[in-house]
Amino acid sequence: MSAHEHNHEHGHDHPHAEITAEAAGYYEIMETAVRELLAEKGLIGPAEIRRQIEVLDSRTPALGAKVVARAWVDPGFRARLIADGRAGCEELGISFYDDTQLIVLENTQEVHNLIVCTLCSCYPRPVLGLPPDWYKEKPYRARAVIEPRAVLAEFGTTIPDDVEIRVSDSTAMVRYLVLPRRPEGTEGWSEESLAELVTRDAMIGVVPATLPESVQ
């Protein structure tokens, strides 16, 4: 904690960590300074910054889940999505504001795909939103390419030895989205119900898409 001492009595009795505004770090201060300079020089305005935050906030795993569910029910869409992931998502109105390309990796009985960015935190943000913290931390980034089977096992995912594991390391202009296998027993399900089975982690490739426990 900082030199500031916290002496006053708590007025209520449930335990929690002290809620304080932490001192801004180096990069946070730099970001504020650059942002204010850009605004001062009239290069970008607060409205544009807020708009970009709205763009990011509108991208969540629910979008990716809709893409996957559409691919499960519509073979024509699935083929186009695998041929060109970005164009497939654009068909559904998902724009690629960061000008990245997207490769959709289809899991099959023979191949299980896993995605990682060993250099930083490249992630299919246009279609999944912000990555989870563990995706950005060094243990996952290093171990996903060194011992993917052990990492998957820690997520509860055991891949048989006769299934090939393909780890895609995204480092430049391409982002990846895993198309999980459609769970058995979902024949005739609506696209909306199918989308509910598709989690963020399934689209990163650390878990399969599964039926909810109540249905199993």
Partner: protein, 113 residues
């Protein structure tokens, strides 16, 4: 239009050397061993490793390493999806020998084996 598809292309049009991909799917390649200072996009664990071109990534893109320094003009070339067995990267890899890594690598980082 894609630089790799030739169907329907008019004859007699000559492409600049860096417009057409230098490598094709199936080509055996090696990732160069270089140690650039500053911004780089080829992780060190893959330098000097051999693999196979799985796909040419379209469209041609900027060299992200140059872009990192604001140098964008004239650096467009192709990225390639390279397949490398995990046993090539880690000699003591534990798992199926068919397990593999895929990564996109800019043209200037690849040499023909």
């Amino acid at each position: 239009m894609s630089a790799t598809s030739t169907a329907g292309r008019l004859q007699g049009v000559v492409w600049a050397l860096d417009e057409a991909p230098a490598f094709a799917p199936g080509d055996p390649v090696r990732i160069l061993t270089r140690t650039p200072i500053g911004h780089y996009r080829v992780p060190t664990y893959l330098r000097g490793k051999s693999g196979t071109v799985e796909a040419v990534i379209e469209p041609a893109g900027l060299d992200n390493e140059q872009e990192g320094f604001g140098r964008n003009a004239g650096s467009k070339r192709h990225y390639y999806r390279i397949a490398i067995p995990l046993t090539e990267i880690w000699p003591d890899y534990v798992g199926s020998p068919r397990d593999g890594l895929r990564i996109e690598v800019f043209e200037t980082w690849l040499e023909r084996v």
